[in-house]
Amino acid sequence: MISNTTKLTRENFPINPERATLEGQNKYLGFWFFLCGETVLFACLIGTYLALKNSYSTGLSSNELFEYPLILIATIFLLTSSLTSALAVYEMKRFKFVNMQLWFFITVLLGCSFLALEVYEFIHYVDKGFKFTTSPFSSSFYTLVGFHGAHVSFGILWFLTLMLRNAKSGLSLVNAPKYYLASLYWHFVDVVWVFIFTVVYLLGMVG
């Protein structure tokens, strides 16, 4: 462990800065505890969706509704943003603050592109007459995918807040765990999307 008064350089910066202090270790453990709860939250939403997806009443069914090329592009954006946030953490471990901020900024841009496509998708569906209250299928669809979209928005705001807050101070053992947890959260949101992409969109195409 490094004491608080040591000046950090590229040479003495620990390889796992997120767990180099007791506070960092506690945050790391606590954050996984939170992710465990998030897993259950999304499991509930996915379970509800699967149970209700064939109750489309007089509205559109899943294989009449979805816009596939759009969704594939959105998925690629989100997968790539997962890689760029991993690259940011790589730069963090090498104590290269500016590079890290840059990769996080690219992550934010990719996240925004994903959100823009999702908003466009929802508007398009509403135009087709597929609204939140159209059928049990539409309600569970918008709730599940909307919850995920809200997580993406929160992740974007989280990254931006950290980037602005620490823009002048540079990297330290106090803010390294914060950046690291934001990137863990981002990977988690990506993992959830992999499931939504498969269970909602691809299985929806099968019928």
Partner: protein
């Protein structure tokens, strides 16, 4: 002594980066494969559904172990949280599917 440790750490980081790039490419390929398999409409639903769900599970394992660092030393306690959450999650999905509304 410190220099030696530093070079070792750098090698370790670069190796990790290479693995992450590889994992990213594999994940992208699996996503496209799942998409193409469904879009071709050549396979029966009874085959395609378990097939694409398996692909998703493989991708998630890659993400968890290589991007979220579950493979690293000292992360055993953390995987308890993860598997605990997953267990409850899977049970919830099964319950919703077979018990609650049917």
């Amino acid at each position: 002594m410190n220099d030696k440790k530093n070079t070792l750490n750098k090698q370790k980081l670069n190796k990790e980066l290479k693995i992450q790039l590889l994992v990213f490419i594999v994940t992208l390929l699996l996503t496209v494969l799942a998409f193409v398999a469904v879009a071709s409409e050549k396979f029966a639903p009874t085959f395609i559904a378990p097939f694409i769900v398996t692909l998703a599970v493989v991708q998630v394992i890659f993400q968890l172990y290589y991007f979220m660092h579950l493979k690293d030393k000292g992360n055993k306690e953390i995987s308890i949280f993860l598997y605990g959450g997953l267990l409850i999650g899977v049970l919830t999905v099964i319950a919703c599917l077979f018990i609650v509304w049917l």
